[in-house]
């Protein structure tokens, strides 16, 4: 049996640990927010030559991600169409008619932006954290500062700009391909007429659903740019430290993207968007 003193010690240790992780969390979010603030200020005061670097980053974000985004969106679009049709048949009404609009809603509001955000966090966020982390541990960040350049403006601003432009565009692309996946299932497996399918989804494409999804994509872009840069710039401890920073950048971006998605969805429905 444990004495009451031991329990008290346990409790103290528990609270100490809780306090430490609370402080750590505050420190982390404070640091990341500060970096975001500096980056946004940097965006406003960036000289024109930064756009060249942003374009270079955009190529990495956008162009090179097209194939993987296409594959995943297409198959998810098909899976969504099957699921919706199957569930609705269980409810026993002539449900296939509703498939196009339900599938479009799911894809435009949720699957398009979230899936694209996760892919880009894994592809571009990881690469970015690893690159900045390597620069940090090899002294290149110090060298930038010694040459009177601001690492945030030189390295983070172009990344943020590229992601904020590239992720919504990629989301549009993912939306289109996801809808095509649903269309394929709807017209071949469920015998909906192509014209009808197209009419039913086209109505939604002009609705707030599309816009809502793109706003989410923009928020995810800010999350990915901020977290991957923050993790990269504070990497320490050699190659291992770079690996750690990269992993953390991806995991934390994933968690924040999903959390932000839930919050935004709730907020959009609350304000009637």
């Amino acid at each position: 049996m444990r004495g009451p003193e031991l329990k008290a010690a346990d409790r103290d240790r528990f609270f100490a640990r809780l306090g430490r992780s609370g402080l750590g969390l505050l420190e982390y979010s404070g640091g990341a927010t500060l970096l975001l603030g500096q980056t946004l200020r940097g965006v406003l005061s960036s000289p024109a030559r930064r756009w060249g670097q942003a374009l270079q980053q955009l190529e990495r974000v956008g162009w090179q991600s097209l194939p993987v985004v296409a594959f995943m969106s297409f198959f998810i679009g098909m899976a969504v169409a099957f699921q919706i049709s199957y569930q609705m048949h269980k409810l026993a009404f002539a449900a296939d008619l509703y498939l196009p609009s339900f599938a479009a809603l799911m894809i435009l509001r949720e699957i398009g932006p979230v899936l694209t955000g996760l892919i880009i966090a894994g592809r571009v966020g990881a690469a970015s954290a690893a690159e900045l982390g390597t620069m940090r541990i090899s002294g290149q960040i110090d060298a930038l500062r010694a040459l009177a350049s601001n690492p945030v403006r030189y390295l983070v601003v172009p990344r943020l700009a590229a992601l904020c432009l590239g992720l919504p565009l990629l989301t549009l692309y993912a939306d289109a391909i996801g809808l095509a996946g649903g269309y394929l299932v709807g017209t071949t497996q469920l015998a909906l007429s192509p014209t009808l399918y197209w009419q039913m989804s086209a109505r939604l494409i002009t609705s707030p659903d599309l816009f809502t999804g793109l706003i989410k994509a923009l928020v995810f872009a800010v999350i990915i740019a901020t977290i991957s840069s923050f993790e990269g710039l504070r990497a320490r401890g050699g190659a291992k430290g770079v690996g750690r920073a990269t992993t953390r950048a991806v995991v934390i971006s994933f968690v924040l993207i999903i959390a932000a998605d839930a919050l935004f969805t709730a907020a959009f429905y609350a304000i009637g968007g």
Partner: protein, 258 residues
């Protein structure tokens, strides 16, 4: 040799303290460097030489104490305010710290592209001159990954020279080089002193290199400068800290490095 009549110091460090995670590294460093002088700071590995050097251009902020560069106190300046001062200080990093996403030419011309309104042709000419100065003429198109350790350091030096700084900071300029590479770097440092009349601070544990290029030597020991004198006098000193530092040379690791 600097004129004794002009007492103004280019670099002055007063009572500098710095600790990392409760571990005191600098415990009250005092230091002066006169115009045109080359000061070599010797110290054992891990004695805080690089930490001290990084305070001279504001890469690190002290816990206490002051750093004066050309009559201006820099420890409380913002990063933006430090910019113009950093442009007067060229720094050669220990591992050269070249930007590996940029070509050699872009590395050397980096500060010129970023901070001057010079035309592309003017910058390219300046880059060519700087690379020629370090014996790497025509290497503009190479990538840093294609270079040997000694070449990287020379490109790093060319990058530091591009803006014609008044002060040069060398962090272990000869570490990791073979004897030929070391001789080459030492020769370069000496030539730059003669031709450009820059003020320089060099931190190293390479005693021979420090002796060859310095006007004055200082010993950093347990976070303080414990000895500072012209080379001849420095090596005749009977200070126990110096003997301890010499003793460190007998360690196998240092013999391998030497």
């Amino acid at each position: 040799m600097p004129s004794v009549a002009e007492p103004e110091q280019v670099i002055e460090v007063r009572a500098l303290h710095k600790a990392f995670g409760g571990q005191a590294v600098l415990r009250g460093v005092d230091l002066q460097v006169r115009p045109g002088e080359t000061l070599g700071i010797l110290g054992a590995s891990g004695s805080g030489k690089t930490v001290l050097l990084k305070h001279l251009n504001g890469l690190l902020r002290p816990d206490a104490g002051q750093v004066w560069i050309a009559g201006q106190e820099i420890t409380r300046l913002s990063e933006a305010r430090l910019g113009p001062i950093r442009l007067q200080l060229g720094m050669l990093f220990q591992e050269a710290a070249l930007f590996d996403s940029l070509s050699v030419g872009r590395n050397v011309g980096f500060a010129l592209y970023e901070h001057t309104k010079l035309s592309r042709e003017q910058i390219e000419r300046r880059v060519r001159d700087c690379l020629a100065q370090v014996g790497l003429a025509g290497s503009e198109q190479l990538r840093p990954v294609e270079l040997s350790g000694g070449m990287k350091k020379r490109v790093g030096l060319a990058r530091a020279l591009a803006l014609q700084p008044r002060i040069l900071l060398y962090d272990e300029p000869t570490s990791g080089l073979d004897p030929a590479g070391r001789a080459q770097i030492n020769g370069l440092i000496r030539r730059l002193q003669r031709e450009l009349e820059v003020t320089a601070v060099l931190v190293t544990h390479d005693i021979e290199s420090a002796r060859q290029v310095s006007d004055r030597l200082a010993l950093l020991h347990r976070g303080r400068i414990v000895l500072s004198a012209p080379p001849q006098e420095f090596f005749r000193s009977a200070a126990p800290e110096l003997r301890e530092f010499w003793g460190e040379r007998e360690q196998p690791w240092n013999i391998i490095q030497a």
